[in-house]
Symmetry: C2
Amino acid sequence: MENDNFNTFLTSNIDIDEQAISLLPSSCKTLTLKKGDFALREGETCKHTFFIESGLLKQYTLDNKGKEHILLFAPENWFVANIESVHFNRPSNYFIEAVEDTRILLVDEELILRLSQYSRAFLQFNNKLLHSHILSLQTRVTQLLAASAEERYLDFIQSYPQLVMRVPQWMIAAYLGVTPESLSRVRGELAERNNRSRKA
Amino acid sequence: MENDNFNTFLTSNIDIDEQAISLLPSSCKTLTLKKGDFALREGETCKHTFFIESGLLKQYTLDNKGKEHILLFAPENWFVANIESVHFNRPSNYFIEAVEDTRILLVDEELILRLSQYSRAFLQFNNKLLHSHILSLQTRVTQLLAASAEERYLDFIQSYPQLVMRVPQWMIAAYLGVTPESLSRVRGELAERNNRSRKA
């Protein structure tokens, strides 16, 4: 009952026997966070991957002026991990904080390895998740190198329509790598263009 | 003989039996590129991951003004793949081009899956490669969001000292997301500071 989303997420994505899949959620601990609570702070170590059952997390750094730069938003049914900790035994360079009240499952890497060897379907699924993570980061790098503030914002609302209403504007700006003033100008120009095309 | 680096790379990194490892290189095709040749163009599809036996590749996009933005440099002993093609059956968004005369092996994803199931050591090694790729992309995103031109350049020469002498300045600028003029200014300032501290 506790892990409803995780079970649905797995069984609807992977064609392996129920028994194998049930290994995973049954051994996961749950963590409940209030808005503003930290799942992990910079400098801490955590050996688990987080699966978001409900709510929303952000993963970010602070620069030397204390300004926040957001690497990732993770809403329900997403995974987020501090890869330095989980895979390289190093403390985290990032904060992971609840943007809304959030419930997460702590997934053990050892279980993921065991399931990958047990089931080829799980192995392929996990590989696909990792590669789609790489792909989205590649797109992000290319966008930060090459795209205008408007292009970045349009891509964001197309890729994450459900986040636009849940996340304050300054956080979207901190994710897109633009100033809040630029984002506000871009939104103004888009609204004006929409209005004009409606009147035409 | 042909796959010397690949064999050494695998046997020195993975503790599995030689027989299993020999499966992989023996079935890989080789591709020889002259400087300026393409391993893959935007819009093309390729189902193989490339292992660089010798030489240097770059993976990049062109923006709508024809300006080049470099996602990745891949020198010898690196992997580079067009993930859209290999894992999602979509044409490539990137060009992959030889910066020097280059010899690459074409590694088949099916073999990687088979070896991952055959050997837990290989599975863990491959997982580690994927996660270190994710980690380096995360660092890249954070740097593009938060770091100055000087910080980006200093990190580049620390992370890839062997590339600084092999890659022209304009390509480093196109990788760091700074103008060639900014990079030139940063290099000048660093040289001046070094000179001053040597005289002091």
